[in-house]
Amino acid sequence: MKEFNLDKRLLIKSDLVEIVENYRVLHFDDFPILYIGTNRLGNKVIGSHLEEDDDTKTILTLHTILSNKEFHQFMNGKVSYLDILRNSKSISIAEKDYSFKLVKAYDVEFNSIPSDYLPLENSFCPSIVKTHSLVFSISLKGRLADINKAVADEVSKIQNGFTEFLEERINSLKGINLIPKAMLQPYAAGSFKINFELDLRQKGKKSSLFLQQAPIDKYIANYIKYISESFVEDKEIFKSDNVELSNDFRQLEETLNEVYDKAYIKRPDNIASSLKEDILKSTAKFEKLTEQVGVNFESASITNVVENEETPLAFIDEDFTQNFQNSVEEIEVHKKGMTVDETFKEYKIYIYHLNTDTRTGNAFIRNSDNEEEMSKPKIKINGDEGLEKTKYTESLYMSKWITVSAKAKKVGEKFKQLDIEYEE
């Protein structure tokens, strides 16, 4: 233990790195070798076993505070433990007694960890036996969410978007007669958490015993994971039928096959193609979640909850939102083409963001093929007259729908941009 030079290290407040909740062992071999949990502030902490000393009855462990993104990436095998440590500025050596109680914590830099104890390059999260459930949680983090608050309108849009997303996925299972109902559970702190439970009832009086064995929970969880982890990378396969399907897509298809097989229901013909179609359809609902990120909270994590243990499925921040929305648009442009109005036409819009200096912003407008769904095109108001006390700022400040004359750029039936002619 001498190689850790504990006597020369800076002591830190141990409660910052102490795991007090959500403790979960990821790998056990005589000792908890790798584990995660949260500290008293709700930050994710990853810990690993270093050494134990029978003379001093001391166990040394490494504890590192993770960002939500690092946590999601690690749990989903995207970054190794070594990379986490290498890039971290908050690694500490946690000294515990032989009852695993934290005694002291020392600040430590990556470079000063004895190399013999460093994890290897391929130290990815060990595969854990995963069980699934139909209980999901969306945690908002950053800004308002960090003081356990959220804007009601944004929460409502997230709830609606996710509820519709869940229910549509069940309804799209052909031949499986289930009535889905996504139920909201009480909000929870941490930082602002929205909980959902998907309730499934069988249609008709005759209930199928086999249906209960179908891994629908696993399918929905893997589906969300696919949308979050693989969809952007896989965008080419949604543009054309001639692109080879990826391994991640094949795995999701395999889970869907399992749902049909275990329910003893005949698989639909060309299951890959209908799954592709369904994923594209689902992106509109998933987009509703991404649209809320970035103003009053920085990120949203979707987890699957089994007996209080949460398995991360998706991490949505501004970077993800940008990539996701660009990919959806790219696919739409490829499939439906882009159209631009040649002359000015009348449109009804509601401006929700406007920079009166640059005359640019965003507005809501109902899609031309479906009044229920709205686009959020970028807007630019022509001219150089001041915008104060005009119908544009009235729409912005009074939340009012106004009629404008504009040339629209559309992808399919979705509005992407409006060049508005200034009118007094």
């Binding site: 790998h27 071999d29 005589d30 070798i33 790798l34 690993s48 076993h49 270093l50 050494e51 134990e52 029978d54 009855k57 433990y81 032989y98 009852s99 695993f100 013999d116 104890y117 460093l118 994890p119 290897l120 391929n122 130290s123 060990p126 854990i128 036996v129």
Partner: protein, 141 residues
């Protein structure tokens, strides 16, 4: 074969449903490339005590964790060892493949979700490293 040392400081009967097994092969990870006394020291002997005062936990701390070595479990066992090595290489890169003698002790099947060949070895009062029949010391990483 007696277990007085094992039961001297607890009221639990740890050897209940445990059996002698001189037929099957078992494995245990070693800290180095040779077998040392500390490799077969139990948590309890080292002073590491469980959080809960339940016999199940106490007995698990009084046993040595070993795995029954069968072909169908080999991959899983080695992958557990490799996972440990990947996270902390200091935990060793060798395992001992061994058999028990009549007087070595008793084994109890204690499977876990991700460790279906897990057993606890309860050492008899006369246990020494010589009570083990070494088959091989295998370098796995």
């Amino acid at each position: 074969m007696t277990f007085e040392k094992l039961h001297s400081d607890v009221k639990c009967n740890c050897t209940d449903k445990a059996e002698s097994d001189t037929v099957n092969e078992y494995v245990r990870k070693l800290k180095k490339d040779t077998i040392q006394d500390s490799d077969f020291a139990t948590h309890w002997e080292r002073g590491i005590k469980p959080e809960r005062d339940e016999c199940e936990d106490i007995c698990s701390y009084k046993g040595v964790s070993i795995n029954q070595f069968k072909e169908e479990f080999e991959k899983l066992i080695v992958s557990k060892y490799i996972n440990t090595f990947t996270i902390n290489p200091k935990k060793g890169a060798h395992y001992l493949k061994f058999k028990l003698k009549e007087e070595t002790g008793k084994v109890k099947f204690t499977p876990e979700d991700d460790d279906q060949s897990h057993y606890n070895l309860f050492k008899s009062d006369t246990f020494t490293l010589e009570s083990l029949i070494t088959i091989d010391i295998v370098k796995f990483a």
